[in-house]
Amino acid sequence: MTSTDVLTGLLLVIILARPLLGRLFEGGAVRTWTTIFVAVCVQALPFLVLGVLLSAAIAVFVPASFFARALPRRQVLAVPIAGVAGAVLPGCECSSVPVARGLMARGVAPSAALAFLLSAPAINPVVLVATSVAFPGRPQVVLARFLASLLTAVVVGWIWARFGRADWFSPARRPDLGGLRRWEAFRVSARHDFVHAGGFLVIGGLTAATLNVAVPRSVLDAVASSHWLSVLALAGLAVVLAICSEADAFVAASLTQFSLTAKLAFMVVGPTVDVKLVALQAGTFGRRFAIRFAPLTFVIAVLASFVIGGWLLS
């Protein structure tokens, strides 16, 4: 039996069971869960498609020699340059993961590609403009977000350059493009990347919807008054909510009982570590990579928020 048979069978069963589904999805919690799950998937999809197309284009149309010339050979320099280059990709975190992998496949050092992955969703112009709209009259919040996110990306990149190991990445699951014509290679690469990343995006959506419904917001009020706890609480909230980086500033601004530094942590952690993103990273680079990269990034992002927030926002 091929997977096409399985698919056909599944489709038939589900369509026949449709009358039962309506009753199953009547409760408030279940309905809210389903709506949030669909919303996270639908909202992320255009960005994922954009990222997959860009990644395929990098893999097929940009010669590897381009990146060898564009980036310094020494990783100490390549990491900050790649971090700043993140400012040009106007997408959210779902695009940057496949693009970073496309860069690695083109010979860019992992540390530099990861710095790009972390900075792109956080410091691009769309996100910074959204932040300035969400915090009107407070340009220092925009500056703090830019600096703290860039600092996070560069420091994590440097740490990775020093301690990262190649065998933490799962063996490149790239389709064999040898012998294909360019557009054929583009099509095969794009479909392959999308099917992989898409499956993991769904895992992220399931997790985000579940946590969104299961974690009571009243927990937050209890910790809002403590400086240290409040920063950690909003950093943790950013991880579980998995809000698109273009929207998180508005959510941060609405958490009125928290300090500006705590809101900064929410906006610095969110685009770099959240449940949807970790699932995407695990699917793209492998689990062994994700269980090291995500905690490292979380710690550095929280520290960067304390440092920059303490300097600019207090």
Binding site: T4, L21, V202, S254
Partner: protein
């Protein structure tokens, strides 16, 4: 999962996204500005899936035509499956061969069926009173709260719940005084009796929804939870019944049930 199945999934997912974006269904999940991006992304997925199905169909035909190709395995021994297995030119092993998958990679791709099913079969509604009950009224301080512009002309003047609540909380209701206001929202229960007229505000998608609640008093009447209503009335101060969140009151002259608006969220 073989390549044809992957391609079919792409077409179905692209179709699901296009399906919710051609009418107003997508507004239950995301903001209206996303429509062109959703339509484009959906179209890309459909084209990618169809092109893949077509190219691989051609590749199989040419492979079947060359004399060196392995003999087709279809015969008495082949299982008679449903539609999908009418595929005489492809040996089963070749169909599932993806070279790099080692049998575990794309299994996760089956999960793509979940959003497809959720959209086509469940079509979950916009968030309502359940979601609203989980968050408090947190109205962000506006940029410059020294000068609230007067409400536009109109009697009653229709405004958003966000605008009403912002004026009530950060302008102490001054710019609402003496005005006759019309609000549209859904009913959510008020602890301790009565109900709130409620609206959820989203920035990007329903995952970032924040509620705005305004207590309806006066000629409030009774309406089922989650039904959509329009309230006309005037500013009635802040609700003393809630300690943890600031909830303004609208003193209703009349409340009517209305149709669910096509854009269920405020922004």
């Amino acid at each position: 999962m073989n390549r044809d199945t992957q391609s079919v999934l792409l077409v179905l997912l692209g179709g699901a996204v296009v399906r919710i974006s051609v009418d107003d269904t997508y507004l239950r999940y995301v903001r209206s500005w996303t429509r062109p991006y959703l339509l484009t992304a959906g179209a890309v997925l459909i084209v990618l899936g169809l092109a893949s199905l077509w190219r691989e169909h051609l590749a199989r035909r040419s492979a079947g035509a060359t004399p060196a190709a392995p003999p087709a395995p279809v015969g008495p021994a082949a299982p008679i499956g449903p539609i999908g297995s009418i595929d005489p030119a492809v040996p089963a092993a070749a169909a599932d061969h993806d070279g790099h998958d080692h049998g575990h990679g794309p299994r996760v791709a089956w999960l793509l069926l979940l959003p497809i099913f959720a959209i086509f079969l469940v079509a979950p509604p916009a968030l309502g009173s359940y979601a609203a009950g989980r968050g408090g009224n947190n109205i962000a301080k506006p940029a410059d709260n020294s000068s609230f512009a007067a409400l536009p002309d109109g009697d009653p003047v229709t405004t958003t719940l966000a605008d009403y609540a912002t004026r009530a909380i950060w302008d102490q209701g001054r710019s609402l005084q003496g005005r006759h206001v019309r609000l549209v929202g859904f009913v959510s229960p008020r602890p301790g009796g009565g109900y709130y007229i409620t609206r959820l505000v989203i920035t990007c998608c329903a995952a970032d929804a924040r509620p705005i609640k305004i207590a309806v008093q006066g000629q409030a009447g009774q309406f089922p939870t989650d039904s959509w209503i329009e309230v006309t009335g005037s500013y009635g101060g802040m609700d003393p019944g809630t300690k943890t969140e600031q909830i303004p009151i609208i003193r209703a002259d009349s409340v009517n049930q209305v149709k669910t608006p096509s854009e269920p969220y405020e922004s």
